[in-house]
């Protein structure tokens, strides 16, 4: 962990998965299990004092457990795909909402946009040329969840994004 917001991102994500769905990551030092399924990626953009975007990718195998626990589904009952995706988007929304006051202070107002699930399952190539402001990897039984945040600190960022 060496980016500006790595530790905050990890802590908020860990707390969010635990509080929303009783899912705890394995020890960060543990080796991630072999990933056998494709990942799913969502993004949530925010505007305000500064603007940015937070990405979350998880193994698709995490979604049934995440959504079932959020909904309190009975054991063995798997929520439909649309609810699994909705639960995933909400988890990202909660992570973003709880991260922003930690990195920007509680006096600042941000508009957190609706999370979007990315069709091609990967962070868009255009972000490769930017340096992230933070990243974190959480290891679950089903594989790795990865978060990365990009921030534009230009003073006119909020205006130009509006």
């Amino acid at each position: 962990m060496n980016n500006k917001y790595d530790e905050e991102l990890y802590r908020v994500a860990e707390e969010t998965f635990a509080a929303l769905a009783f899912i705890m990551p394995l020890d960060p030092e543990d080796e991630a299990p072999d990933e056998t399924d494709a990942g799913i990626v969502a993004s949530v953009a925010f505007t305000g004092e500064f603007r940015g975007i937070l990405f979350l990718s998880v193994p698709a195998g995490l979604l049934p457990e995440l959504s079932a626990n959020m909904l309190g589904a009975e054991d063995g009952v798997e929520p439909p795909i649309d609810q699994q995706r909705d639960a995933f988007a909400e988890a990202l929304n909660v992570i973003c909402g709880n991260l922003l006051p930690i990195i920007a202070g509680t006096e600042v107002i941000f508009d957190v946009h609706a999370p979007e699930i990315l069709a091609d399952g990967r962070i868009p190539d255009e972000f490769e040329r930017y340096e992230s402001a933070g990243s974190a990897t959480l290891i679950f039984d089903t594989g790795k969840a990865e978060l990365v945040i990009f921030v534009d600190n230009k003073p006119d960022a909020a205006e130009s994004a509006a």
């Binding site: 509080a19 309190g72 988007a89 929304n93 909402g97 709880n98 600042v108 508009d111 957190v112 609706a114």
Partner: protein, 130 residues
């Protein structure tokens, strides 16, 4: 006394999980209405008797803050109990909502918190206390 509650949130899963929490918290419920944004919420209010509104802030079409302003501007609903359930972390915005007469619960939240706040806001007693 049972409550007619309106839940306004753009996430189906969040609306479903709030209903689940209301049941876990043993809040006496009559009808639970759902809306996916502030405008839909106002439409439900127009057509139904609602005792309390539970709303998110960041939503498409009309956000929760604008919906609250419109509710307060209507004499029929000016005293409507409104509970905002959101990830909002800005004290500035939370204070602004509280000045409009809304209470605030931060997401994620434990069931007992929602029970305490709803009982306090509506004057109902928790079923186990009756």
């Amino acid at each position: 006394m049972s409550l007619n509650i309106l839940i306004v949130d753009d996430s189906t899963v969040v609306r479903m999980s709030i209903i689940r929490v209301l049941k876990i918290a043993e809040i006496p419920l009559d009808n639970v209405f759902q809306a996916a944004n502030g405008q839909e919420g106002l439409d439900v209010l127009e057509d139904n008797w609602i005792d309390m509104v539970l709303a998110d802030i960041n939503m498409p079409v009309m956000n929760g803050e604008e919906m609250i302003e419109k509710i307060r501007a209507n004499p029929m609903w000016k005293d409507m109990p409104i509970l905002v359930i959101s990830t909002e972390g800005s004290k500035t915005r939370i204070e602004r909502l509280e000045q409009k007469g809304a209470k605030f619960i931060h997401k994620p939240f434990p069931p007992e918190t929602i029970r305490e706040v709803i009982c306090e806001m509506t004057g109902i007693k928790h079923e186990q206390q009756v």
